[in-house]
């Protein structure tokens, strides 16, 4: 992979960022669950996929887009705080990338799945952690939410990440990638 922001990385960051925004604005990214958080989300998945496919820079940028979109579209007062909505989301793609890179040599599919899981858990833990630090919920409530909606979110994340990245990597290997200049 070339260093820095290639055309490929710019476009993929933009496109996955668009999906993150779309899932939030159309409420498709929310699955209502009966916990204090109100919704389980799949909106972190573009950040995870971007991190795995194009590196931690892209993952961080998509996380930022996700965070700002979440901040602007929030109905729950919890997410109207930029430190809770934006700051933790920066790390979703980063942890996903490092998990993937670290485990890549063991087994590609396992690495992708693990990255999906870790990325989702990063989102859950850091956001809830910031919520507790900023005083929006007690530690007990946060821990409950982490388990009841965090774990299902992580599982869904693994499924979607595996499906999308595995399909995409196969395409790249088979040379169906259209532009040969960058990436």
């Amino acid at each position: 992979m070339e260093k820095g922001l290639t055309v490929r990385r710019i476009v993929i960051a933009g496109v996955l960022g668009a999906i993150a925004i779309l899932l939030g604005v159309t409420r498709l990214g929310y699955i209502p669950v009966p916990t204090a958080a109100g919704n389980a989300t799949i909106m972190h998945i573009p950040a995870v996929i971007g991190g795995i496919m194009e590196g931690w820079g892209v993952g961080m940028i998509i996380g930022l887009i996700f965070g700002v979109s979440s901040f602007l579209n929030a109905t729950v007062p919890l997410f109207k705080d930029p430190l809770v909505a934006i700051l933790p989301r920066l790390f979703i793609g980063v942890t996903a990338y490092f998990t993937y890179v670290g485990l890549k040599n063991i087994n590609e599919y396992f690495a992708i799945g693990a990255a999906g899981f870790i990325g989702a858990m990063t989102n859950t833990i850091l956001v809830l952690g910031m919520a507790v630090i900023r005083g929006y919920m007690t530690f007990g409530v946060a821990a409950t939410v982490a388990l009841t909606s965090g774990l299902p979110e992580a599982i869904v994340s693994v499924i979607v990440t595996l499906a999308v990245v595995a399909a995409w990597k196969n395409l790249v290997k088979a040379g169906k990638q259209k532009s040969k200049i960058s990436g």
Partner: protein, 279 residues
Amino acid sequence: MMSAEFELSRNITIGQYLPTDSVVHRLDPRFKLAAFVVMILAIAICGTYVGNLFALAICIAMFWVSKIPLHYGLSGVKPAIPFIIILATLQLLFYGEIARGGTVYFQYGFVTISSESVRLVLVSAMRFVEVIFLSSVLTLSTSTTELTHGMERLLGPLQKVKFPVHAFALIITIAIRFVPTFAMEMEKMMKAQASRGADFGTGEWWRIIRRTKDMLPIIIPLFNVALARAEDLILAMEARCYMPGASRTQYTHYKANGKDYAALIISIIISVIMLYIPW
């Protein structure tokens, strides 16, 4: 109204711009963004009653100054009111132990209501409304192009520390540009799946696993379509010899005038007042 579930494009309100040609509309977007950030930070920090009431009054005044009808802001707040009430009640009842300090009004078992917890609850609610109002004014008075340009110019100095400002602005532009496109794709896919008998959105709200499983045939193709379009765009950009990081001149130029500086200074003064009111 089944079709309403499929009509996603109606909900895309990014860049909802209301051209009313007010003073605020004509301000330089860089200054608007800077003023916005300053005030948001002040709101996030300020924890006093009077400070927040003052901020609330200013936010409402902003609607008047920018000639935007207040109901745009209220329509942002309206869907959140049930959440505010529930969260406020929960915080009030169960949060008392954490927010130590202040006089305790009521104590029974683990329920503690003190003046601190009341303050926290009211201030959170006010903060929430203020942020919604302020961001509504910003997005309603500034078109997305202006916002992206403004952000790009503001971050410009970061270029010196190798932060890829132009690439970043381009990413945002691409993202915003593709949102309506993907909404349409998604709508097409949902209708296509439904016409072949797929069954989503009809699971009861509590059947979480079922609803999640139903979303998978939509989400995964959405990513595939998006990435296919990404490949097209990458090819197109490179075929036109786009070099990221090359130095570029800019098409639109923004000249700052007195009004812009005045707006920024006013927002700083407001923030300082907000933070130094002691109640």
